[in-house]
Structures are given as C-alpha cells and as structure tokens.
C-alpha cells in the first residue's frame, strides 16, 4: 500500500495573515499535492478550522484512522506558529526556558509525547514585527514542491564545532557519511569562514552555541587553545548560508530552531530553508550535550538521526526512529529518562518535508 502524506494548514488563518495572497499559497498546496501524488505518495490536504493545538492533534488522530493499513503516514504542517500553532510545553528541566515550543505532541497519540509514533514535519512561514512576508513562504513552498524531482547535490558532508566540544563532535561526525575535515571555532570565525565549505554538501552538522537574542551561532575556546583565541567568537551568521543545495542540516545550538518573531535574516534555520536545504533540525530552547564522549542529549539524537538517514530511511522516519533509539539508550544506561533527556526529545523540531530521503 502506498504511503500517505497529509498536508495540514489553516485556510482562515492564512487569509487573515496574507489577505489576497493567501489564494496563491492555497494553490501551492494543491500543486504540492499533485507533485507528491506523482511520486506515488497518496496525498490529502487537511485545512483545519481548529486553533488549539490539542484540538488539531485530535484531527490528526481522526484523519490517521483512515490510513492505518498504510506503510507510512506523514503529516506535513504548512505554516508557522500563527497558522498551525506549536504546542507550548512546560519546561521539564531546571533552566531559563519558561516553556518549550514543540511539535512533539502532534507526533504522539497519547500524553507520553516525548516518544513519537507519527511522522511530523513542518514548513514554517515567518512572522516578524514588520508583518507577514508571503514571498518567503511562496519561495519555500516552491523549493519543496520540486524537491522530489531534484537530484541530491554532492556526496560530501560538512561539520562545524566549537573547539571546546571537538572530541564530542568527532564522535557524532564519524557516523556522517563522507565527512570532510571537521572545522573548529576558534580559530575559524565568521570572518575567515569560507562559504564553499558548505556549498552543495549532503549533510551539514553544527555543534555551536546559540541564543534567541541574536542571529548568530558562536564558538568557544577549548582547553589548550592559545589564550589569544577569542572565548566566544561569532562563528556563523545567516549571510554565510549560500548555495547549500539540497542539504540535510542538524544544528545542536541552543535556540538553533527558534523561529518565533524571526525572519530568514534573523534566524539561520529559516535562511537554510530559503536557500533550498531539504531539512533543518534544531532546538527551540536551551539544548545540552556531554563534555566528552560517549554521546548523550543533543549529540546522541543527532548521531542516531544521521545513522538512519544513511540507511536510506525518509528524513521523517529517521527523526522518529532517532528519538525512539535515544529514549531506549538512555533508559538502558540510566534506568530512566531524566528531565534533560525529555527536554532534548521535545525541543528539537523538524523543518522540512518528512517524505524526502537521500537516494
């Protein structure tokens, strides 16, 4: 039986936000449906009238029941927080985040939403203080509509790590296929970063610091580095994202996937989507990792994700399986999932089309 993709959006909210241009967006949804159907993925459009995430999740469950015998059912949310809202989950751990923006409950049929059962991705639009920009959204939708026809660029991969985490990053990066040399910051910073390093690469891996206040990711000086190296240099900025082709991007940075009130010039994640990346996975909140191998937290989730992508699973299926394996591994190791493990599971969101895969 064919896989099924369900494109989920909210017509009323699209019209409220984009006025006349909402029609162009709705036409793109129809076009997306046609293109996915051509790729042998039965596709349905679900235009929800619900506003509360928990009500929308109920609709997911009702819709899903029609397709229980299918190989895979993919939900692709079209729009950002003001079209189909994220869940705002309590922060399970002791840090500065008041709550976590998360799509995890959409991927779960019960209240144990840290463990996914459904494949869910999202193509967000933008919503900044200057208003709505339909150009961004139409361009991202166009990119994704044609992605199934695209030949994937390049076979090489790129990794970029804060110097202080080079050992832990190496443990992750070694599972990423055809990884070129891992770039370390410092000494590399935004000023001597070469754009060609990320051009037409298959996988892009970032293990840097982030903040929701800025549009930059940062490095950190490591043990034994020369004192003249800056302690927290600016390592990566949106302007460096060019010609990235159909790359799969995983960023472990704090707030690497924080898109709220942001645009493609103020969030690196959104810039990757406008520059035609296949996928961006990042955290909406403070993320954690170990200081030395073995991998835990964000490092472990990222490692498992790339392992499954390498096996040829769709990106959505790889993300689901990575979360399940992460939870199993932490229970085997610790006997339970601690609060930071649970936070890791719920804070990483998937921006892209979950039906895509590396061919």
């Amino acid at each position: 039986m064919k896989s099924v993709a369900i494109l989920v959006s909210n017509e009323k909210r699209l019209k409220l936000k984009y006025k006349k241009e909402a029609d162009a967006i709705l036409k793109k949804l129809e076009k997306y449906k046609t293109f996915l159907t051509d790729e042998a993925i039965e596709t349905r459009i679900l235009l929800t009238k619900k506003i509360e995430p928990s009500d929308i999740r109920e609709e997911f469950s009702s819709f899903e029941k029609k397709y229980l015998n299918r190989k895979e059912v993919y939900f692709l949310i079209i729009g950002g927080d003001d079209i189909v809202p994220f869940f705002k989950l309590d922060n399970p751990t002791d840090d500065e985040d008041d709550f976590i923006y998360s799509d995890s409950p959409y991927a779960s049929r019960d209240e144990e939403y840290s463990i996914p059962e459904r494949i869910v991705g999202r193509l967000p639009d933008i919503n900044d203080s200057e208003g709505s920009d339909s150009k961004f959204f139409l361009s991202v939708l166009d990119n994704f509509i044609f992605k199934h026809k695209l030949k994937r660029d390049g076979s090489k991969s790129f990794g970029y790590t804060a110097s202080v985490w080079k050992k832990t990053s190496k443990a992750v990066y070694r599972v990423i296929k055809n990884g070129e040399k891992l770039i370390i910051t410092p000494p590399v910073t935004k000023d001597n970063f070469e754009k060609e390093w990320i051009a037409k690469k298959r996988y892009l891996y970032f293990n840097l610091h982030g903040s929701k206040e800025t549009n930059c990711w940062y490095g950190q000086r490591g043990f034994g580095d020369p004192e003249e190296y800056p302690y927290f240099p600016v390592a990566f900025i949106p302007e460096l994202v060019k010609d990235v082709g159909s790359s799969v991007v995983f960023s472990e940075a704090c707030y690497g996937g924080y898109i709220f009130g942001k645009t493609d010039s103020t969030a690196i994640s959104l810039k990757f989507l406008t520059e035609n990346s296949d996928l961006f996975i990042g955290s909406s909140a403070i993320a954690y990792g170990p200081i030395e191998p073995p991998s835990t937290e964000a490092d472990l989730l990222c490692k498992y994700f790339f392992q499954y992508v390498n096996k040829g699973l769709t990106y959505g299926s790889a993300f689901l399986n990575a979360k399940i394996d992460f939870a199993k591994k932490m229970i085997r190791t610790q006997g339970f999932l601690d609060e930071d493990d649970i936070k890791t599971l719920i804070e990483f969101n998937f921006f892209g089309d979950p039906t895509l895969r590396i061919v």
Partner: protein
C-alpha cells in the same frame, strides 16, 4: 535527603577541573527520584528497569554568564548528576 557539604565540595572540585571558569560559582542542588512511567516503557517496548527506579539522585547546576565577541551575553549552564554517595553519573553543558 540532602547532599553533605563534603560531597558538594568534591563535586565542585571535579567540575572546576573540567570547567575552570566555574571556579567562583556556587551550584544549586536539586534532588530527583529516578522514575519511569509504565506507559512510556510500554510505548518503547522495553522492560521495567526495577533495579534503579526509586533511587534518589542530585543535580548540581552551575551557571555563569559570558560575553560573546559581538557583545551579547550567553548563560553557560553545567549540570552534574550524582548519586547519594557523590558518584558523578552524568555531566552535561548547555550549547
């Protein structure tokens, strides 16, 4: 139960070895009980880890603010999880 001062001091020493920048930081300490819901285990299709459930662990959090080269402030958080004997079980750091 609270961790003894001696254990907290030993953990601080361990953390400062790896994070000298946390030398002047007083950690907060929170106790946690290892627990896992049967629903979660059933969802993951794993058996109940009886041996460890109910044990108490302690999470010591060290926080310090740093300036980036472009003038922003980033709070770095280091969390050390120890058992009641002070054995370091896990150390993680914010990204």
């Amino acid at each position: 139960m609270e961790l003894s001062k001696k254990i907290v001091e030993n953990v601080k020493k361990e953390i400062i070895k790896k994070f000298p920048e946390m030398a002047q930081v007083e950690p907060t300490c929170v106790s946690k009980t290892k627990k896992v819901s049967p629903e979660l285990l059933s969802k993951l299709k794993v058996s109940f880890p009886k041996a460890v459930v109910g044990e108490e662990v302690f999470v010591l959090s060290f926080r310090k603010m740093f300036s980036t080269t472009d003038g922003f402030k980033i709070t770095k958080i280091v969390k050390a999880t120890v058992d009641r004997h002070g054995k370091l079980l896990k150390t993680i750091v914010s990204k």
